[in-house]
């Protein structure tokens, strides 16, 4: 038990990433608020970043930096995506006074 708690290895990072990812997935699937969904997507992206960094360390050793680089690119793209997404959500909220995805069906019909 103490071994798991204190002997921190790659497994811990991977499990944390998996848990974060699942939380993100659950958020995307369950929540109806567009803002929360965007947040959940960010959570999933960060979980992915975490595995990228972990595996980079695992297989690449001390010098392997490709995974880290990739994670940085993902963060940059995620920031851009979040700003666009948030802008849309704000615009939608201004027009309709709510951001419930189930009610945003204008384009479907």
């Amino acid at each position: 038990m103490t071994d798991i708690l204190f002997n921190v290895g790659y497994g811990h990072f991977l499990v944390l990433a998996a848990v974060l990812f699942l939380i993100g997935v659950a958020g995307v699937l369950i929540r109806r608020n567009a803002l929360i969904i965007l947040m959940s997507v960010e959570l999933m992206l960060n979980a992915a970043n975490m595995t990228l960094v972990t595996f980079s360390r695992m297989w690449g050793g001390q010098e392997g930096m490709s995974g880290h680089t990739f994670a940085l690119i993902v963060i940059a793209v995620a920031a851009a995506e979040a700003s666009v997404g948030l802008a849309i959500v704000v615009a939608v909220f201004r027009g309709r006074r709510n951001v419930d995805v189930d009610r945003l069906t204008t384009l479907r019909h």
């Binding site: 290895g9 790659y10 497994g11 997935v25 995805v101 479907r108």
Partner: protein, 819 residues
């Protein structure tokens, strides 16, 4: 004639059927836009052209062949190869020989007259072009049937005439019962055609299946042994034999009739003559359908629904005789089977008697003539059933003349009655006294009645006498001597009946006083109708002269012309197909011939006398007393046509209709409609409803599917990639191969092996550590069957141990292998 003679790209012979077919093509496609004048000019020109061409070919080239050479009496021309499958080859070939020449002359000549007659009879018909188109189509099909050189081509004509018969019986299809009559003819004919096809397949199967080499060896040995033949002839015979064997299964009549083939009918099938009997009887059932013999005769009386010229041409003179012609064409087959011959003769006799009986109480002019046709066809089948081919064709020809004349006369009478205002122009009870109003029709009708009753010197007397004489003398091998006499007595009774009902008809129509207003107002028909009547009546009078009986007194050659002419195309009445020897046919002395002729004449005269007694001046009170008294059951039976239609209704039509209804309810409504169609739609709908839940347009729904799917993929792949190892015995060494899987354990893992059962890494015999995915150890070094693969992962610092119990004992012969 040179067989390659062509005219406008088609062999000359092919033009005989092609001319009427062209006429049909024109009249059936653009005929509606042409004037009536043009329509009948085209139709008549086509048929008269075919008639002229037939006359030219028969009396020109064929006559020359007949006069000059021995053995070859036919002109054969191949239009093109119709079917070629492996060794099976059916050319669309036509053959004019002495037998088919008689048929084409009768068909084209009677056909021409009836086309001319039709211009008068059908003058007011709205579908004039269709009528002449069908008539021409019939002529073309009939000529193909007659001229065919092999059975499949004959079948084209056989079906073609059946189709035209159907079209023309139901020509006035606006009336339901007429359309039903057409359907009935079609269906009954199909039954016969089915048997015909079976017979044809049987012949094909027999001739194809034989061992060609064995046959050739046997036959050529026989030829070589014949020392009295000169070598050139022998060589020719061998050549023919080779050709025959190459043509086997071709169903060509000449090939089938080849003596080498004759053996097959006797030896090829179960042994004995059974193949000939089976094929002969099956084909005869086909003939029964087409030629209206019992029990398939029921369509012909109903076929009188068609226009009268059609009845004359198709249902009296030509098409219905196709069965007789077919049996004559296959004379070699029937002659080699006594059984088949007896069946043909017996059915013919029963038909002749039954139809004559049924004709007696009919009151419709055309119905009487229809039963008379059935009865006369029965006579012809007795003739072919006794091997009396010449008499059959002779009677076929004379019957075509006098029966066509009778039908056309009936048409003329009905035409007159219709103009007199009768609504039922065929009812003979409404007629009487027409001799005053229709003199030409009356004379020609009387001549034909005399001919059919068998009165000297009219044609019917000679042809019927040939049949009677042949039947009297026939003695099939293995049958008692009185067989022929039974046939003869039966035929005499039928002939008595024929004379009686025909003259009953004559007296009721023409003698006595008019029994209705329309009869009083009737008038003679136009010249286009009476002219053919006169021509046919003349032929019905004189055509008997070409078939006089053989007597010891020397008569001019033309009196036996028909027999001499047809003889090369048919075989003797009964013969042994192996030796080719004909059975000895009885030959009548002059006295016997005259006695037989006298009896036949007396019977005919007696029939006329009886008819005169009862009907001479219209129906007599004596007759009415008899019909209501002692003869009542017989009269009712005749009137009801022996209840054939009713029996078929109960035995066949109703069960069949029940079966069809059951199939409709169970198979069609339930299995196909409910299960297959509605059921399929329901299942698809269900699937649609399920997939609609996923495809609802919400990204979250799609995403959940994606997540579940991805999870499933991971789970399944993970199951298959647990680390394990395999082993293989090679000699006394054991090869161990690790499959580390794709789970947590990665490519940098350190692999070591334990072979002593203590789960710790071991060394091999040389003291080196057993490491790496592939190791080989001596079997003897493995001290424990429990071998363990130890995987250490340096990154995760995890150790996985895989233990397997391996088989160490060596099986003596098979190499050990396991996973």
């Amino acid at each position: 004639m040179d067989p390659t003679t062509k005219f406008a790209g088609l062999p000359l012979l092919a033009w005989i059927p092609v001319l009427p077919l062209l006429g049909a093509l024109i009249n059936l496609t653009i005929g509606r836009r042409l004037s009536r004048q043009t329509v009948h000019t085209i139709a008549i020109a086509a048929v008269v052209g075919a008639c002229a061409l037939s006359l030219f070919l028969v009396f020109g080239p064929l006559w020359a062949e007949f006069k000059s050479r021995d053995g070859v009496y036919s002109i054969e021309q191949n239009v093109y190869t119709w079917i070629e499958v492996g060794a099976f080859k059916v050319p669309l070939a036509l053959r004019l020989d002495t037998l088919s020449s008689v048929m084409i002359l009768v068909v084209t000549f009677v056909g021409s007259l009836i086309h001319i007659y039709s211009t008068g009879y059908m003058a007011h018909e709205p579908r004039y072009a269709a009528y002449f188109g069908y008539l021409n189509l019939f002529m073309g099909s009939m000529l193909i049937l007659v001229l065919a050189s092999n059975m499949p081509v004959m079948f084209i004509g056989w079906e073609g005439v059946g189709l035209c018969s159907f079209l023309l019986i139901g020509f006035w299809f606006e009336k339901d019962e007429y359309a039903a009559a057409g359907r009935k003819a079609f269906v009954v004919n199909r039954i016969g055609d089915f048997a015909f096809l079976l017979g044809m397949f049987l012949l094909f199967w027999a001739t194809k299946d034989m061992s060609a080499d064995a046959l050739f060896t046997a036959a050529s040995a026989k030829l070589q042994a014949a020392t009295d033949l000169d070598p050139e002839l022998k060589g020719q015979a061998l050549q023919t034999l080779k050709q025959t064997i190459a043509d086997r299964g071709s169903l060509d009549f000449a090939n089938l009739a080849n003596p080498a083939m004759g053996k097959i009918y006797v030896e090829g099938f179960w042994g004995g003559e059974r193949l000939a009997a089976a094929a002969g009887i099956l084909l005869f059932i086909g003939a029964c359908g087409k030629s209206a013999q019992l029990p398939l005769h029921v369509w012909l009386p109903d076929a009188m629904a068609g226009p009268t010229p059609v009845s004359a041409l198709i249902h009296a003179a030509t098409m219905v005789t196709a069965g007789v012609y077919m049996v004559c064409r296959l004379s070699f087959l029937y002659s080699s089977s006594t059984t088949a011959m007896i069946v043909v003769a017996t059915v013919g006799l029963i038909t002749a008697l039954a139809a004559a009986f049924m004709a007696m109480a009919q009151t419709d002019l055309k119905k009487v003539l229809a039963y008379s046709t059935v009865s006369q066809l029965g006579f012809m089948f007795v003739a072919v059933g006794t091997g009396n081919w010449v008499a059959a064709i002779f009677h076929l020809g004379t019957h075509a003349f006098f029966k066509a004349c009778l039908f056309l006369g009936a048409g003329s009478v009905m035409h007159g009655m219709e103009h007199g205002g009768s609504a039922t122009p065929g009812d003979i009870m409404q007629m009487g006294g027409l001799r005053k109003h229709m003199p030409i029709t009356r004379i020609t009708f009387m001549v034909s009645c005399l001919a059919i009753a068998g009165i000297l010197p009219f044609a019917g007397f000679f042809s019927k006498d040939e049949i009677l004489g042949g039947a009297f003398l026939v003695n099939p091998p293995g049958w008692p001597a009185w067989y022929g006499e039974i046939l003869w007595i039966g035929l005499l009774v039928a002939a008595l009946g024929t004379a009686f009902y025909m003259w009953r008809l004559y007296f009721l129509v023409f003698s006595g006083d008019e029994r209705s207003d329309s009869a009083r107002k009737a008038h003679e028909s136009p010249a286009s109708m009476t002219a053919p009547l006169v021509v046919l009546a003349v032929l019905a009078t004189i055509s008997g002269a070409i078939g006089l009986p053989h007597l010891s007194i020397k008569l001019p050659a033309f009196t036996h012309a028909l027999a001499t002419w047809i003889a090369p195309s048919v075989v003797p009445n009964f013969f042994d197909p192996i030796t080719g020897d004909p059975a000895i046919a009885g030959h009548a002395s002059d006295t016997m011939t005259f006695i037989l002729m006298g009896v036949a004449l007396a019977v005919g005269a007696a029939g006329i006398g009886l008819a005169w007694l009862f009907y001479g001046r219209g129906p007599t009170p004596t007759l009415e007393r008899l019909v209501e008294g002692p003869l009542a059951p017989l009269y009712r039976a005749s009137k009801a046509k022996l209840w054939f239609d009713e029996i078929y209704d109960v035995l066949i039509v109703r069960p069949f209709r029940g079966l069809a209804r059951g199939l409709y309810e169970i198979v069609d409504r339930f299995i196909i409609d409910t299960i297959a169609v509605t059921g399929a739609a329901f299942v698809i709908g269900l699937l649609g409803r399920v997939s609609r839940w996923f495809q609802n347009g919400q990204v979250q729904r799609y995403l959940s599917g994606l997540v579940v799917g991805a999870a499933a993929v991971f789970f399944i792949t993970d199951c298959k990639t647990k680390p394990t190892f395999e082993y293989k015995r090679a000699g006394d060494m054991i090869e161990l191969h690790a499959s580390p899987g794709a789970g947590v354990v990665g490519k940098n893992s350190k692999l070591t092996w334990d072979i002593t059962g203590d789960e710790l890494a071991d060394n091999d015999a040389t003291g080196k550590l057993l490491a790496g995915p592939d190791v080989t150890v001596r079997a003897g070094d493995i001290t424990s069957p429990k071998v363990t693969l130890i995987i250490e992962d340096p990154v995760t610092r995890k150790t996985v141990k895989v233990t397997r119990v391996i088989e160490l004992a060596v099986q003596p012969d098979e190499p050990q292998e396991g996973k």
